[in-house]
């Protein structure tokens, strides 16, 4: 029997539809000509030009500060939340789970708007700090879910075994729990990092003057800046995201092979 070609063709079609725009963007970032219409030869001039723009570098710095601090905070909060969710079972914990889960499904625009309203109501000055808080609110949920999935894979009797062998809570946490959870926490951290670097909608709402992040910068460049520089910037962003996602995937699958 001859197999139908249709699934193959559809797959290729969908992939082209997804990745062609990105390919065009990447190729154009190395295009010497100013407008993407024709190939003007290979060049790195847009990347050099990018390096010379102070406001972009500033936005990059903001993004990095927020991404790292939000990741750290959400790792600590998310891991402890996941641990509580897994270890203690009660009606209150079901409620806790729903609260942790909700940010994953609430539309971003709603999150952004409500956070903005909250900050204004409380009277916090909009700036890097508010962006940090906003990023933590959604990153915590992702970290908690990833770590929770890890926790569900292993036998909680190891905690009792450690105590049985003379370890107190502190030793149990550092010598047993932390190493066992490390791959889960690391992959949650990479996910949080990616989300924080990428986030536009929520940041857009809660960013104040002088606290522009990279995605917001890019958005304004579409209107006012040079499209070719934008291509170069987007390509870099794309590469960083890709590496983070790849690393996160690797950590997860490695762990699965080991157990």
């Amino acid at each position: 029997m001859k197999r139908s070609r249709l699934p193959f063709v559809v797959t290729i079609g969908v992939l082209i539809f997804f990745y062609l725009p990105i390919m065009v963007l990447v190729v154009n970032s190395f295009n010497a000509s100013t407008y993407g219409g024709h190939w003007g030869g290979f060049s790195l001039r847009w990347y050099l030009k990018l390096m010379g723009q102070r406001d972009i570098l500033l936005a990059l710095e903001n993004t990095i500060i927020i991404a790292i601090s939000a990741t750290l905070a959400s790792c600590i909060l998310g891991t402890t939340a996941a641990f509580a969710l897994h270890y203690y079972k009660s009606a209150l914990q079901r409620c806790h789970f729903i609260l942790i889960y909700t940010p994953l499904v609430v539309p971003e625009i709603l999150m952004g708007m409500s956070l903005l309203l909250a900050f204004v109501a409380v009277g916090v000055r909009l700036g890097l700090f508010t962006i940090f808080l906003a990023h933590v609110t959604f990153c915590v949920s992702y970290v908690a879910m990833v770590v929770l999935a890890r926790l569900q894979d292993f036998d909680m009797a190891v905690i009792e075994a450690a105590q049985d062998l003379g370890a107190n809570w502190w030793v149990t946490t550092w010598r047993v729990l932390a190493p066992m959870l490390a791959p889960g926490i690391a992959s949650g951290a990479l996910l949080a990092l990616t989300l924080s670097v990428d986030d536009f909608v929520i940041s857009f709402f809660v960013a104040g003057p002088g606290s522009t992040t990279l995605p917001i910068r890019i958005y304004s460049m579409i209107k006012f800046g040079s499209p070719a520089v934008l291509n170069a910037l987007s390509t870099i962003l794309l590469a960083v995201t890709f590496i983070l996602v790849w690393a996160s995937q690797r950590l997860t699958t490695n762990k699965e092979k080991a157990t």
Partner: protein, 386 residues
Amino acid sequence: MAEFLEIENVSKSFGSLCAVDKISLSIHRGEFFSLLGPSGCGKTTLLRMLAGFERPDSGRILLAGQDITSHPPNKRKVNTIFQSYALFPHLTVRQNIAFGLQVQKLPKAEIDAQVDKMLALVQLEAEADKKPALISGGQKQRVAVARALIMKPQVLLLDEPLAALDLKLRQKMLLELDIIHDEVGITFVYVTHDQGEAMSLSDRIAVMNRGKTEQVGTPTEIYEAPRSSFVAAFIGDTNFFEGEARELVDKEYSRLKIEGFPDLVCFNDKNISAGNPVYLSIRPEKFGIGRAKPSLGGKHNIVPGRVEDVIYLGGMTKYWVRVDEYKIAINQQHNRFYLDEEPIRWNDDVWIWWHADDGFMLERYSEADENLMSLPPESLGEGAEP
């Protein structure tokens, strides 16, 4: 002088459920002691209280004269082998075994020396640098044993350590556990619902049912002289007859009336007084069976019956004999085919007999116990048949 491990009136409830109900046990130093009982009878809960993972609602636990009831698990010289082994997956076999000593911050050279000794004891030198995920079930179990023994506990607690293994490996590990126990001389408290395991390993067994101990004794005592109908039914096979105790004869023996039987005599070690309803329990292998009425005197009971079924099992033959409304299981070593007479067949009229000492009068069990006993033997543990 108190025993080495003394459990005094210990109770533990989960909500309205009383998992362990005023249990008292005395366990000798160096003993292999088993807790045996059906699923959910509170064995694990009792063991977890000994380890310190659960706090008793009431009662005390004394170890070598010291009250340890409220000590946390890391402050007790008691170690546990968990049913799932609970090995640390991120550590190698060697690191797993060394964990307890590292927590105590012993010098590295000493830890290494002791770990090497343990690896030799459980024959795992070749696997020392593997992670637990890469070794077999039997090897994992040995790592768990070594990890606990290296702590030199005063008591080793084992919660169904063989349940996860297949039958063949189980028998092998059973033997190894026995050897290790003899070698290290530590007190073992062993939880199981498998009577075969308990019988073959233990110095003494506590048979538990619904949070209480039904009987504590050596395997022989428990099999040969069950104190309650639950124990009689749970350990091995038995025939139960409903009857009524009558007057005493000869101090320790009573007459017994069972519907459809002639007057019987039975050993009455529990001083059940005349008029009380009782169960008579007789193990299948305690009967004699034959075509001719035997000329046995004194304390033998001899009853006529009719064979309803004969099952030849090689090592023995199982007869089902009808006496009035009872269908009695009788095991005989051989069916006499090669000896003298014709073998006993279906529908033969026969005589069955047993000695008064081989029957036990027991108080009637409750309905809940009865339900438990009507389960097929597999669900309670392995049958006692060889």
